[in-house]
Symmetry: C3
């Protein structure tokens, strides 16, 4: 199967690996992971992690599904990805990134260096999530979304104080979020909306708006 494998690589039982795959030194592929053809994985990664927690944390849903990595995807160094997640074709995942369980990453998307994607989130196709950005749990990004560096999101309106159904942002097709913007729980960002750098988005936005500031306010409509 033409596997290029570095030193000290650990491949647990039930892992399947396609054609022309390379795996860097010291990388760990945990039980049941499915790797497609032409996948490149860097050094010191941990892939296929089982979800875990303590009694005072959100309950882990029993997860029987594997981590699946489709053809032509490239994964950097020191990346962690959980079991029960699907990474589609031709995705790029930067060094130090972390992706939790029950996540879908669409084709041709780019997950930046040290970016984090929490559980139950869905990332569309052709999205870019830049360095150090934080995609909270239960978030949806449609296709062609651009998330600048260091963007922050949250999904818990009451910060643990009340029972609340956790709800991440919903970011529609082609929206662009500037660096270090903060998005509150359950916010919807309209199609092709532009959010300025450092903005704090406290209300839903319509399609094709540009909003900036703290709290973010509309400055013009493009259509």
């Amino acid at each position: 199967m033409n596997l290029s494998k570095g030193n000290n690589v650990v491949i647990e039982e039930g892992v399947s690996i396609g054609q022309n795959v390379s795996i860097g030194h010291n990388t760990v592929i945990l039980e049941g992971t499915e790797i497609g053809d032409n996948v490149r994985i860097g050094c010191n990664c941990v892939l296929g992690i089982q979800a875990n927690g303590t009694t005072n944390m959100r309950q882990i849903i029993e997860n029987k599904r594997s981590l699946v990595i489709k053809n032509d995807t490239k994964i950097g160094n020191m990346v962690s990805v959980y079991s029960g997640t699907l990474i589609s074709r031709n995705v790029f995942i930067g060094d130090h990134a972390s992706i939790r369980e029950n996540v879908l990453i669409g084709e041709n998307s780019v997950i930046g260096r040290a970016a984090i994607i929490e559980l139950n989130s869905k990332i569309g196709e052709n999205c870019t999530i830049q360095t150090l950005s934080y995609i909270t749990g239960d978030t949806t990004l449609e296709d062609n979304v651009f998330i600048g560096p260091c963007v922050s999101m949250s999904n818990d309106k009451y910060m643990g104080a009340k029972k609340y159904s956790l709800k991440g942002p919903h970011i529609k097709d082609g929206a662009k979020i500037g660096n270090n913007a903060s998005i509150l729980p359950g916010i919807t960002i309209g199609k092709k909306t532009i959010i300025g750098a450092g903005s704090v988005v406290t209300k839903d936005t319509s399609d094709e708006e540009t909003v900036v500031g703290v709290p973010a306010k509309k400055i013009k409509t493009l259509n």
Copy 2:
């Protein structure tokens, strides 16, 4: 002692390990670390690091104490923890997190994915520090504090320009800090105070206040 140990694990001299411990592949446990019972440690971690520095950095206090990890604690993957730190019972530490020397983490607290806790900080019991948050050096969190994702703190009022006794924030019992908020050096946050997402906290807050904005201002008092 019923130790489940992955491949390529390095355990240096003078490490003590309790009952029913599991250590993932490629994890390094450095000299003198003390691990309690029922502790679970993921892959590719480095635990028990000796403090280090260069001549133009803050002086390192000679540290003869070990890293101590108490019973029932769970540590993720690619986590780094320094020597001279105490991690209490039933703590959860997420993947890619980093904890410096002379830190105390209280029982039942949760340290999120890629969160960083600098030296000489004290985290109380039942605290939650979410993903990518930054707890600066010399910080105190009392019990039941909630720190949302991507919160930032600092402890050096003059940013290296003047001699100054470094002083982190003091965050009192039950306070809740929204995502991506910034807390200035030496600030005290009152009990059960709520800080809005993206706020910049430049003054102390009283108990049970809600403050938002840049700079953060009071919007209502709950009592």
Copy 3:
């Protein structure tokens, strides 16, 4: 050559190593890396990474140069550094930090824990870049610059929407940036300028100004 080498260390072909070097467990030194005298490298690092990408990302310039690490430099644990970068004498690089290709780090500078420096950036001498800060691509820091924790930068004014020559900030000698500030693409920060914590810098600043807020405005001139 008096090399102290941990377990499971991988040293690829064509690596040169000076006198009195230590390399921690599980660290990977990739092909062609040049390491000077008295260099200390922690555990689980990956050094000398070749640049990589997918068809929908910025084109990678063919890079024939090695990673060069000069004398007396200290590198923490789980650090990633790319090929084609020069790290000068007596630099400190914190745990979990990541440095891309074609970067220059000047003598005596400190790169904080989990800080990230993107490609084509130049960091001067005696700079401090604190924990979790993000130096975007094509950025220049002159000497003696202080970047607080969690500072964010960007280099793409149109967030992928238009053809644009990527341009990072230019930060002049002795400037100090407060924690969690956001700097927009192509901004020039004057000499000894002070930027308040949480500020969003949307315009160039003159020398020795102090600016704060969203957007950042001048509050006093020191000269």
